[in-house]
Amino acid sequence: MTENKEYKVVGTRPIRHDGVDKVTGRALYGADFQIAGLLHGRVLRSPHAHARILSIDTSRAEALPGVKGVVTAQDLPSAEDRIADLGEGAVNLKHLCDNILASDKVLYTGHAVAAVAATSPHIAEEACKLIDVEYEVLSPVLEVRQAMEPDAPLLHETLKTTSMGETADEPSNVASHIQHTLGDPEKGFAEADIIIERDFVTGTVHQGYIEPHNATAHFNQDGHLTIWCSTQGAFTVREQVAEILQYPISKIKVVPMEIGGGFGGKISVYIKPVAALLAKKTGKPVKVLMNRTDVFEGTGPTPASYIRVKMGATKAGKITAAEAYLAFEGGAYPGSPVGPGAMCIFAPYSIENVIIDGYDVVVNKPKTAPYRAPGAPNAAFGSETVIDELAEKLGIDPLEFRLINGAKEGDRRADGPVHPRIGFIETVETAKAHPHYTAPNGKKHHGRGIASGYWFNIGLESSVTINVNADGTINLIEGSTDIGGTRASIAMQAAEVLGIPAESVNPSVVDTNSVGYTAVTGGSRTTYATGYAAYEAAQDVKRKMIERAAKLWEVDVSNVQFEDGLFSSINGKEEQISFRDLCGQLSQTGGPVVGSGTVNPGGAGGAYATHVVDLMVDEETGKVEILRYTAVQDAGKAIHPSYVEGQIQGGAVQGIGWALNEEYIYNAEGTMTNASFLDYRMPTCLDLPMIDAVIVEVPNPGHPYGVRGVGEVPIVPPMAAIANAIYDAIGIRMTELPMSPDRLLKAMGKI
């Protein structure tokens, strides 16, 4: 571990390698992709939230001039057949396939039903209108508590609740129940001088990435399938498409184009298998694009939830017990992030007695997908609001309250793991010392709120190859799609090892045939794990270069030392050569040097954040104006501080949107009425102050430079921080998200 070590490249702010192409519009995204003979695909989507498909007649669409092929679920390998083969797992496979193209039932408005390939996108669109689908419309269930009622309409006749290893007899919309316990909650609550219990409701929100999903698929004559697309992980696309199409991964190549945002929403596949089906049917390359409404209605948002939190503390401010009930909407199929929500909810605190119950519940909304720290923001909205109320009732400063109870190395999380070295306390101390926290905040209807958050981060597999060039530069080959500046943060770790400037690294994100297996850009893992692989690959290069220097000087490798980009001979000969000059000697010393590194590291190291927000409430209109925002976060080690700050700012901003205005608004039939950026109100730059990002560095022992993932945790605290600030401003505890103007007016009794 590398505390307080001085680095040459790590910690500096070079220009990102992909920056110029992106700001000048030259970077190639999936929608830009062109190939001879290209057809255009469009997907027909369900107008109903819940209906049985009685029949689909595609003949009128097929007859439209320019239409080259139409596909439905009939064109997918039958998932039913595979139930017998695979047992339990096949149920999930059916869910996976049905979400791509509905077979027997549509389960949400926007559910894909059929797709058309035609010579122009407009013809494909018109052809979709000519597909006749006969539906038997069923009542939708649109809210988690409603879906849990015994008499609620059932989405899946075969879904039965699994609860800690047991499966229920009767079908239900509750897919699973999990529970974590620590200590003796009953005893803990008995020891408390004060107990606060509150209910919370959060809305369905979307990641809102700028670039809609896209995919172009093409089959070679010999059956090799290539897919060009926007994704957070080319290898996961390969796996999912292989599974859905029952096609070998060896025959699928996925080429990741540049990606215009994902935030977790570009891991699951939607139109990629559809493009492949259309390409197979027509024998031509087919490009399928989504529009914004498709994205809102047909891809995974993060779920609405109902949360109950109960916490007790002593007069001295020590939390004695905590209890949480988390019911999360999975959307149309099981798979809500209630698990991570349960892992994170009390993780900032050292609490001896805890019980957490989590429920994954299906409703007639799109199947949820990950979104930045999935599950944790919902959970923290509840717990961090209750923490604020406890501190307030006990007359203890909220940051002081966190210092009293804050989790440290060696404390156990309720779900089991023991914290390694973590930096929560440091974020609280830094927030407390920040001029924002001590600035006056006395004006009428102005309020200040704080909240903290945790995200565990993940490791997983990454591979990097480095090719050494004769001019002293290196080509770094990686499989991590670059969403937030990771070409730079990965390249910099290799550069540090080799003592070369970041600009001497030429990073390329390549397809699945051209680099070793690499897991998704997600879980805040990329700078950590792919950076780790780059470090290892650079170490490999360094070892090989030392061998070359030894050969050049005819000494033993043990007599060659490498420091600051310079190889030197020790013990005898007075020889020196720079990395760059040695690169020029490769062909004379044995040929090319290629280094490789592969990792699957276990020590991702959790991340903590503490946010401070000042805001103003217009008590006549209920509108909240964010005035000042400070986000403190432990980055372990900030490889490229600008991109860490960018992640912190972006997470905070998405949290502000989630807190104040973002939500899926449904009509009684279960159709989203605000499926556009006009009415799905994400914050614009006029709605935000500059977000002051403050980086704290408590190195992660699980990484050579101490890196912790930084991308997700900044979205965890904002909702509660804003709710706590609203309370400070107007004395009302808001417990429902979003805290939109109409809800504030209602809470203030104005309407």
Binding site: N661, T673, L678, S740, D742, L745, K750, I751
Partner: protein
């Protein structure tokens, strides 16, 4: 999006003849910031798009302190707020032109297009109403004039007969000691459609204490923008006071017939009519008092 024909009309009569001939399948294209979006999203079927931007009369922007403003139907928002005299004379209209969309949209969007699209939430319509604007309409049977408050007949519906188009808007010269103000409520600070909009114009006496006359108009609280006639009338002759303004605000609230939708609830909108009417009236009065 399905195919359509694009035609440039060079004269009013050419445009009117085309409109008359093609009927419902033809639409006038001004800035296109409503029309093209609607066609792309399949919310409107159009076979003929008649671009009027080459017609001289629809590009007129002429202000005269005695006779007032002639505003061609296709004049873009940004041209209006670039003229200082217009900003001084009709600040309420300028308020609206500065908040439509953003800079890019304002470079294309016309006030005439905003009116002819006839959205209940259109930002320019309440200020046009309070400024006593009238529509100059050309049609197969010649020209006619119509007060703006009578122009919209329902969401997206107008008083146009077959073959008619808007040539220009006429706004009388402002009276002494008068001003206007428009504001809307949106949950964000840009890129939203008004949850409620309110415009007011006020004329004060020379002492700037008594209201000589006032006009109030509301957006997004009924199928069309509303002229709040009674609320306006009850201010005439009143001393400027919170009580008078509250009364007018309540009268304005009483004519609101809002719906609940994804942009806001009916109760919220009715409440906001009161808030915004007060703010619009106070804003106009403040402008009169601030003027030298």
């Amino acid at each position: 999006m399905r195919d359509f024909a694009y035609i440039t009309a060079n004269t009013v009569s050419e445009a009117v003849t085309l409109l008359d001939e093609k009927g419902q399948s033809a639409r006038i294209l001004a800035g296109g910031t409503d029309l093209i979006v609607q066609v792309r999203e399949a919310r409107r079927d159009v076979d003929w798009m008649i671009d009027i931007k080459s017609i001289p009369e629809v590009n007129v922007l002429d202000y005269n302190a005695d006779t007032g403003l002639t505003l061609g139907a296709a004049v873009e928002c940004y041209k209006i707020y670039a003229v200082d005299e217009i900003c001084d004379a009709y600040p309420g209209l300028v308020d609206a032109t500065k908040i439509i969309g953003g800079t890019a949209i304002q470079g294309r969007a016309a006030v005439g297009g905003n009116l002819c699209n006839a959205s209940p939430a259109a930002d320019c319509i309440p200020p046009l109403i309070v400024l006593n604007a009238s529509c100059v309409i050309a049609g197969p049977n010649g020209a006619r004039e119509l007060p703006v408050e009578q122009f919209c007949t329902g969401p997206g519906q107008t008083a146009f007969d077959n073959g008619e188009m808007l040539v220009s808007l006429k706004i009388p010269a402002p009276a002494n000691n008068s001003s206007s103000f428009y504001l809307r409520f949106i949950p964000r600070n840009e890129m939203d459609i008004a949850v409620v909009g309110a415009g007011a114009s006020v004329t004060l006496d020379d002492a700037k204490q008594t209201i000589v006359s006032a006009r109030i108009a509301l957006g997004a609280v009924a199928p069309t923008p509303l002229f709040a006639e009674e609320a306006s009338a009850l201010l005439a002759g009143r001393e400027v006071s919170d009580a008078a303004i509250d009364e007018a605000a309540q009268a304005a609230q009483s004519i609101a017939r809002p719906i609940s939708d994804m942009r806001g609830t009916a109760e919220q909108r009715t409440h906001l009519v009161g808030v915004l009417t007060r703010r619009a009236l106070n804003g106009a009065i403040q402008r009169i008092r601030d003027a030298a």
